[in-house]
């Protein structure tokens, strides 16, 4: 059981929740997720990436309201208890010395990379954070990320589909131009970390493949057990189906078989 200690509405569709967790709750690794039981009416828990766990005994979740599960969670009062299992899943690879971590987030994908961003920034790693959204309003999430430093150790850039802020276009276009810029820089080689809608991940993976850059993606799939037991949350890889919950949620993009998604 975790206690919801803080609930901040970032905008009408997005909330930042802070939970106080049990002493026995292990310190999460970036990329890991928790399974939240938001209502007894629901048959399944809802998985959310750990979006922050910098303070011991505290877990932050960044949640976009989509359906019943997320809406009931947002309706909870501060102080109420919520059952939260985890942390579950694997984690990202560490960038090695000489690598620049390039984080590419689309929409609520920010949630999956925020904890990683803060941990890497804390460790003093070189970091480029690219955030794409539909409009300026949807970009507010960017405020939750580490801020750019003067020495460009941490760089942050935005894109919006409507051009209302940052680059006018997709975050993958932004990624291409950032990679071009980094290409000039002979010392640092980029390593990609991506989280966002399927179409964006597919495109980012293609860019990484074309440039032979290592690339990890954080995937989402509907989950039941969250432990690898039910085989419900699989994605196709070059080695067959793998579960997002226990083989992932972080996958090497080169291992994934991206489907020509008809409804992406």
């Amino acid at each position: 059981m975790a206690r919801l200690t803080r609930k901040v509405s970032i905008d009408p569709r997005n909330y930042l929740f802070t939970f106080e967790v049990d002493r026995r709750f292990p310190k999460p690794l970036p990329g890991q997720f928790v399974q939240v039981a938001s209502s007894i009416e629901l048959t399944l828990r809802r998985p959310f990436s750990v979006a922050g766990a910098s303070r011991p005994g505290e877990v932050e979740l960044l949640v976009e309201l989509r359906g019943k599960g997320t809406r009931t969670l947002a309706a909870r009062h501060e102080g109420s208890t919520v059952s939260l299992l985890g942390p579950m899943g694997n984690t990202f690879s560490e960038p090695s010395t000489g690598e620049v971590a390039v984080l590419v987030a689309g929409g609520i994908g920010v949630a999956g990379l925020r904890y990683l961003a803060h941990e890497l920034a804390e460790e003093g790693k070189r970091l480029v954070i690219l955030v794409g959204a539909r409009t300026r309003d949807a970009l507010l999430l960017g405020d939750l990320l580490p801020s750019a430093t003067e020495d460009d150790r941490v760089r942050v850039a935005f894109s919006t589909d409507d051009g209302s802020a940052g680059h006018w276009g997709t975050v993958c276009e932004l990624l291409e131009s950032e990679l071009d810029a980094l290409g000039e820089d002979r010392i640092a080689s980029p390593r990609l970390y991506c989280c966002g809608p399927p179409a964006m991940l597919r495109e980012a993976a293609a860019i990484a493949a074309a440039r032979e850059i290592p690339c990890e993606v954080l995937l989402e799939e509907i989950m039941a057990c969250g432990t690898g037991a039910c085989r419900g949350c699989v994605v196709m890889t070059k080695h067959g189906y793998r579960t997002v919950c226990s083989d992932g949620p972080v996958f090497d993009a080169a291992e994934l078989v991206f489907e020509e998604a008809p409804n992406a």
């Binding site: 039981a37 007894i40 629901l42 048959t43 399944l44 828990r45 059952s83 299992l85 799939e221 509907i222 989950m223 039941a224 057990c225 969250g226 432990t227 690898g228 037991a229 039910c230 085989r231 419900g232 949350c233 699989v234 994605v235 196709m236 067959g240 189906y241 226990s246 008809p262 409804n263």
Partner: protein, 315 residues
């Protein structure tokens, strides 16, 4: 402390809760979340002769009161099960039931013989009812003779407890149950999931990659409870109720209808501690109603019904 022990053929369980096939994998996956010492037994994911990759995703879809799954019997196959997984399964401190499914009568016999030959395995459950594997118009689970044949063949290979897991997707589950009993099953699991589907209207396609899947969870409870009721009056082997059990009251309904044990599946996803909660609740109910052994609860609602009936007709 009330006596919660349950008996299924030669198998004695410390309590009547069994974790349902496919919901706990091979066991260890859930070891950090489920306290296996609180359950009577676990059933492994169904094993087929060859490994199976399973269905295309999405494999899950939540629906009001229930869950649709179309895993497609993804499993490691008999060989890897025996050589690799069995070691892991054996770490689970509860009785172990292996679930098996073949595509021919012979395969059922071979699978049963092979798994029960291993001392780690206490019993075998014949899965004849997975709605995701398509066969002819009249599926095996709807055909008492076909089910009898499978059961007889499996029976011939083992002395360990043989459970037969029925399907609710039939008009006449009773005839199938009776055929299974006559062919030598030690207990009947009543029952598997109902066939169902959902459509994503924005995408204009079925929600599941496999189009249809099996409906489990609370939505299924009334249907499988009625199936237990239908069967319990006519067979004398024990029944294991399955479908939508999430609370002690749900388990009790199955037991009062005629079940000797219950399986818990989908409820584990929301609450891995459900089995312990259910066992505690059963004990509490028994204390409150002065019932010494859970076996004494089996079919109690039928007896009430019979008494009521006698009273009415005696007037």
């Amino acid at each position: 402390m009330p006596d919660l022990r349950a008996t299924l053929g030669r198998l004695r369980l410390c309590n009547p809760t069994v974790l349902a096939s496919g919901t706990v994998g091979y066991g260890p996956e859930y070891a950090s979340l489920i306290d296996y010492t609180t359950v009577g037994a676990i059933v492994t994911k169904t094993i087929t002769p060859e490994p199976r990759a399973g269905n295309a995703p999405p494999r899950l879809k939540e629906t009001p009161g229930g869950l649709l799954n179309a895993i497609g019997l993804e499993n490691v196959g008999l060989e890897r099960f025996l050589s690799e997984k069995l070691r892991e399964v054996a770490t689970v401190p509860a009785a172990l039931i292996a679930s098996v499914a073949g595509f021919t009568v012979n395969e059922y016999a071979e699978l049963t013989g092979a798994v029960t030959a291993r001392e780690e395995i206490d019993a075998v459950e014949l899965n004849i009812s997975c709605p995701n594997v398509e066969r002819a118009r009249r599926p095996v689970w709807d055909d008492p003779e076909a089910v009898a044949e499978i059961t007889r063949a499996a029976r011939a290979t083992t002395e360990k407890t043989l459970l037969l897991k029925l399907s609710p997707n039939t008009a006449d589950i009773l005839s199938v149950a009776e055929a299974g009993e006559a062919a030598g099953a030690d207990a009947l699991v009543v029952a598997n999931t109902l066939s169902g589907m959902r459509i994503d209207v924005e995408a204009g396609t079925p929600s599941l990659g496999n189009t249809t899947g099996g409906l489990s969870g609370r939505a299924l409870l009334p249907v499988n409870l009625a199936n237990v009721w239908k069967i319990a009056g006519s067979v004398s082997i024990p029944i294991v109720g399955s479908g939508g059990i999430a609370d002690p009251g749900d388990a009790l309904e199955y037991i009062l209808a005629g079940a000797s044990a219950v399986q818990i599946g989908t409820a584990l996803f929301a609450d891995p501690e459900a089995p312990g909660r259910i066992v505690d609740g059963l004990a509490e109910y028994m204390r409150a109603h002065d019932i010494e052994s859970i076996e004494g609860c089996t079919g109690l609602a039928r007896k009430e019904k019979e008494r009521e009936w006698q009273r009415t007709t005696a007037d």
